[in-house]
Symmetry: C2
Subunit: 126 residues, 2 copies
């Protein structure tokens, strides 16, 4: 699969939220030793360590609207809006990929954590 095919398949596997989530397809797109980096999780290495975080997020996804998907060589970047259940609302995300051997080797996630930190604080206080 080309870089753009891998990245499109990644979003297809989870963008429909929990009812449409395809775990086997998503797992097959992550390199065993994938290097992930995000604003809350920090650096996480390995598909088995990365997958639970993605799945917690997918559990809150209601819909995804892709704004730009840029691909060049073995790299790609996506910016999209997700409607979420918790925190409730529409939030913007960016992901930067390196793809090799038909799998995602590196994934950097960016988003504004303000509402996510509030939700976590409320959960801890409850």
């Amino acid at each position: 699969m080309s870089t753009v095919d891998v990245v499109r398949a990644y979003y297809e596997s989870w963008q429909g939220g929990p009812a449409a989530y395809d775990q086997a397809r998503l797992r097959g797109l992550l390199a065993d030793d994938i290097a992930f980096e995000g604003p809350l999780a920090g650096k996480v290495t390995g598909a088995e360590a990365v997958l639970p975080g993605i799945e917690r997020f997918v559990g809150t996804v209601r819909s995804l609207r892709m704004l730009q998907l840029v691909c060049g060589g073995d790299e790609a970047a996506a910016v999209y809006d997700c409607e979420l259940a918790a925190p409730s609302g529409v939030f913007r995300f960016a992901e930067f990929f390196r793809v090799g051997d038909g799998k995602i080797q590196q994934l950097r996630l960016l988003f504004d954590t303000v509402e996510f930190r509030k939700l976590a604080a409320r959960s801890q206080a409850a």
Copy 2:
């Protein structure tokens, strides 16, 4: 200029911070009717409206480390770490570009606003 040349020139114009800032070069890279969107400023249209926001940011830049610059056709995306004076520290940013006629026609900026909102609140309280 190609898409990658425009985007590289954009970063070259301001990544050195205030001492090396090249206002004329930066302004020449922004389409007159550029469409900007960022997490604090929201949607801003037009180079004359966008430039002051970029310049306030550039005033705090100490250095920039590019992590990935992805280019495909007339689109590009960059993720980078900036060392800033205020808020003080290293912060990650993503920008997504559409380029046409050798200028940036559209620019979407993403970053985690947590520390920036704290700084703004302190400034207002002072």
